[in-house]
């Protein structure tokens, strides 16, 4: 292997071309694949065999945490400073659900968004791919497939010609 690099970045002009190329790359034994698209492309995750995201479980945990915090807080506050309002119960479980509901939503939504950013490694303002010449089109109307340098079958010349055969409009070696 020559100079170490981040990987080879191939450009396609439609989501279908990208998906076809990704399929071929999987079939050819490449495993360290990632795609970069201006909008979520349906079916791409299955082709690349991306693991199912677990954001929903984080959201569930956040929701349960929010509800518990709200319930415990309201009970404790009434325990610590009991006010008798016309003989109504201190632990008013008909009154507490409003704040419980709000905090369930608050904790759940914020934990999901935080988990999404955390798992995606964002914010990360710099990345080797941003040095690629045509990568700025990945947010416009071009679709990119990247085969990473650390893939077992990666070889600069051979992988490059494989991507060109798969229909890439341009192929670029990205520096690490």
């Amino acid at each position: 292997m020559a100079e170490s690099s981040y990987g080879l970045l191939a450009e396609f002009d439609s989501p279908e071309a990208l998906k076809a190329a990704a399929k071929q790359a999987r079939a050819a034994g490449y495993r360290r694949l990632d795609a970069f698209t201006p909008f979520p492309v349906e079916g791409l995750a299955q082709i690349l065999r991306l693991p199912k995201p677990n954001i929903s479980w984080v959201g569930l945990a956040g929701g349960v945490a929010g509800a518990s915090v709200a319930l415990l807080m309201q009970c404790y506050v009434n325990y610590d400073f009991p006010i008798n309002v016309g003989g109504r119960p201190l632990y008013a479980f008909s009154a507490f659900p409003v704040v419980m509901f709000e905090l369930t939503i608050l904790f759940s939504a914020l934990s999901m968004i935080a988990a999404m950013l955390w798992q995606n490694g964002l914010p990360r303002l710099n990345h080797p791919l941003f040095d690629a010449r045509r990568f700025y089109l990945a947010s416009k109307d071009r679709f990119f497939l990247c085969i990473a340098d650390d893939d077992g079958r990666f070889d600069q010349t051979e992988t490059g010609s494989f991507l060109r055969r798969a229909g890439a409009k341009s192929v670029e070696l990205t520096a690490l």
Binding site: T37, L50, F81, E102, N120, L122
Partner: protein
Amino acid sequence: MTDRSADILPADQSIGRVSDQLTGIPLHFPAGRRWLIAMVFASLLLLMFVISVIALFTRGVGIWGINIPVNWAFAIHNYVWWLGIGHAGTLISALLLLTQSEWRNSLNRFAETMTLFAVVCAGIYPVLHLGRPWYLYWMFPYPATMNVWPQFRSPLEWDIWAVLTYLTVSFAFWYTGLIPDLAAARDRATTRGWQIFFGVTSLGWRGSATHWLRWSQAYRLTAGLAVPLVVSVHSEISLLFAAGQIPGWHSTIFPPYFVLGAAFSGFAVVSIIAISLRSWFGLTNLVTDEHLDLLGTVLLATGLMTAYGYIFEIFGALYSGDPHELQTLSDRLTGAYAWTYWGAIFFNFVPLQALWWRSARRTGWSLMLISISVALGMWLERYMILVTSLYRDFLVSSWGGFTPTFWDWSTYFGTIGLFLVPFLIAIRLIPLISIFETEELLHEEQEARHG
């Protein structure tokens, strides 16, 4: 997918061109002069708001027309009105995302932006109304040296939790949806300042398939949470009224009545903004007549549901047979403030009937006029609910009246500046229509056409 949603955007435009068009609005702002004029006007209103607040904080809430018995009036009335307007933004972007109504994609960004600033305007009102706003922090449960805690068995305490949660979640949802578009703008930016601004705010988004997968899940689930949140927030506000014993408020119809009225006024304001922005920035290729048609239909539907609330409110009063309820009902229909009741009926429901005709829905100016009428009508409705219930309650000895003072009006018009200034700044700085969702929809349409 129905035929209608398949062709909501003209399919002959290229994805790249749409991206350039939308990122071009902040980067090469096309309507600088008009924006400046609007900004000067909005800043003057904001200045009036600042002056009104300074006067209020110096001299106290006595400068408003509130008194005993009408102790809520403008502050709470405008609070409910603003918050209701905000709700349509969340409903458009979250509810219609979940039902896969793709026509939302051209509207959701500015509708959500509208939500954020409308909630700010709403949230500021109870703070101003506190009388001693510097004690706002007493609403939060913190271990105070006085050993007291907030009273969680009161709807007034629920309020702050509902509004702050709503504001935070709306902001998080708005920003999450914005990240890919900020990245698109970053990649189109040519000057250093814009590159830094969008580079930082887009958090380094690069459109990786793995990222999109997690992003989509987080975005959709947050949308799923935002829908019940809207319903809960406005229901909770209606409980401020319904949980009390005041005749005209103490009714189980209030939560749905309030939520539907909120959606109604909100969709009206979304239509106003959509029509203005579309003609302002030449976006007829993205905000099409078809969009206006759908907005008009939704406006008509929510309007009729609100009308049902009116009917049932009268039925509730009659059916209860309670003398105070009946008296409040007759005060509303014929009393000193009957003009607010009949004004609300007229502005809410009479021009609205034009929307049964397709041509009225598809014409910008007619939908605009009807929407303005609805916003006005809903404002009168909130006025009516507040004042007609309070000014003559149980004890004849405490009957009174309410006349708004100069400071009532100046604060209210000031909040319009408080809404417009950040909204104008937002449309100057960020892509005001969701780029990637428009591209995705265009691609699907083109696929459907070719396949």
